[in-house]
Subunit: 323 residues, 2 copies
Amino acid sequence: MNWCNKTDKRYASILKAIKKYDTIIILRHEMPDFDASGSQFGLKSWILHHFPTKKVYALGENHKYFSEDNSLYPKTDILLKQPKDYLVFILDVANFDRIDGKEIIQNASYTIKIDHHIFVESFGNIEIVKTDYSAACELIAEMLLSFKKYKMNQEAAYYLYSGLVGDNGRFQYSSTSQRSFEIAAQLIHTGIDFTDIYEKMYTKNLEDIKILKYLYNHYQISKHGVIYTHTDKKALEKLGVEREKMKAYVNLFSGYKESRIWVSFTEDAEKNIWMVSIRSRKIPINMVAERHHGGGHANASGARVETYEETMQIIQELDDLLK
Amino acid sequence: MNWCNKTDKRYASILKAIKKYDTIIILRHEMPDFDASGSQFGLKSWILHHFPTKKVYALGENHKYFSEDNSLYPKTDILLKQPKDYLVFILDVANFDRIDGKEIIQNASYTIKIDHHIFVESFGNIEIVKTDYSAACELIAEMLLSFKKYKMNQEAAYYLYSGLVGDNGRFQYSSTSQRSFEIAAQLIHTGIDFTDIYEKMYTKNLEDIKILKYLYNHYQISKHGVIYTHTDKKALEKLGVEREKMKAYVNLFSGYKESRIWVSFTEDAEKNIWMVSIRSRKIPINMVAERHHGGGHANASGARVETYEETMQIIQELDDLLK
């Protein structure tokens, strides 16, 4: 029941390292999501709150949800000159190549990796990888809360909560555990305005309404209930939307009782291909993706195909699964 | 931090009453939502788990989400004959008139009311009303978890979790507190399959897609950004949807950066009126509803007006607020 009592011994070594180095650099994966940015700014805020004389830098490109008027996170820092004798944290990333700002690692005095993804490769003098945590923020919050002499500050809790919620879909996915709730309770206890976090995370704009309108006007249903949408080059141009953003709408057609498989096809006019995203409720669909030079997980796969005809072949194969 | 330690002394009296009566009837409000049904079946399951010889009846119409093939809750019970010497629980309801099955209260030996709504009127030999709880299930779970000699059973936890999530919007609304998370953690600890609960709660059907398509094709935006939809009698008939169900879609247009007020108008052809639902982000709008013989909360109000012209007058007044 009490996760706080099961403190990892390595946490003490990390606190020791934080105390030892005057310059601390915090990195995370490229194209940061809520968990990456939340981890980074949560840890930075906590360190500066308790050790205000240290120099702490959060490096990397800015979060896609960063904007001047609606900033969930502050801007990332810029290093004007190469520091000396510094500690580097690498958060929420399993592959060395995906680290945003990895060039700074080479001359680091000491490195600490904290992650919750499936282990890929080793880097860092201390490595803590716990795959049963719903977010890197869950793991980092656990560590910081275990430092009983140092109270969790509200600003750090704010960032850590955003990442916790970001990676577990607001306590929706099966990665959510008793510990996720217990840590959320402790973060809320600092008095953070979590409705403000949600508002910043969930804000949509009128461009999104147009995308939804397009998708609801163009979805199709196969004989046995596969729901699918094709968004071609012309539609993307008319809507003024990027391919990657359109792809993110694949789950618009999830959760319908009559449909256990849903698919989005988005045209990549530069490469002259269709990007395929296949999702399902319970039924494994990855073998269909694999047959079309793609792959992925049992209920979430992707592929890239060259012709419209092949997209319809995929629908036929998925439809057969629902017979 | 430890909500378990702050046990309400009345809880012990309630446990005593449960032990005393062999027949226990559990009521809640009409048109049950997740919190009403979750409270009712959670308490019933807990009592039967620990006192299997008792007769426990959950009365009232079935939950709207109850269906043969996708039942989140069991069917409600039917009383074949008037029982003698029985205890009645009345859960999640503040108005006596809204109790589903209130006729059974008259001959009850003892009555216990447990609610989290704003107090309206007194009924029940024991009355526990705590408005700072995000759900009646949060309050009932707290009570049952405080009975240390009786372990929370998984089935009761399943129902209580559904109601907790149902009333706080999966930990979204500001009613969510540290305690909500701590109780969620304890319920999850029993090993419930919460993803199964979500799947049953969130299942949509293809009729819903048609409603969404209609709304995205018919929304309008006023000069300063009020988003609104009119759904008239003809549209309701064509979609084959009930007025009340359509009204529930008012929040489809919430959360857009450019719009701080959104409104739905649904025609009630029988009464020859338009039902008006007004929602806003932060800006108070209830005075506009009041000016049109309606009312409600600062950010969620309603009204009923007789003409299409008056609906447009409302839009004009709301638009003025955004100038």
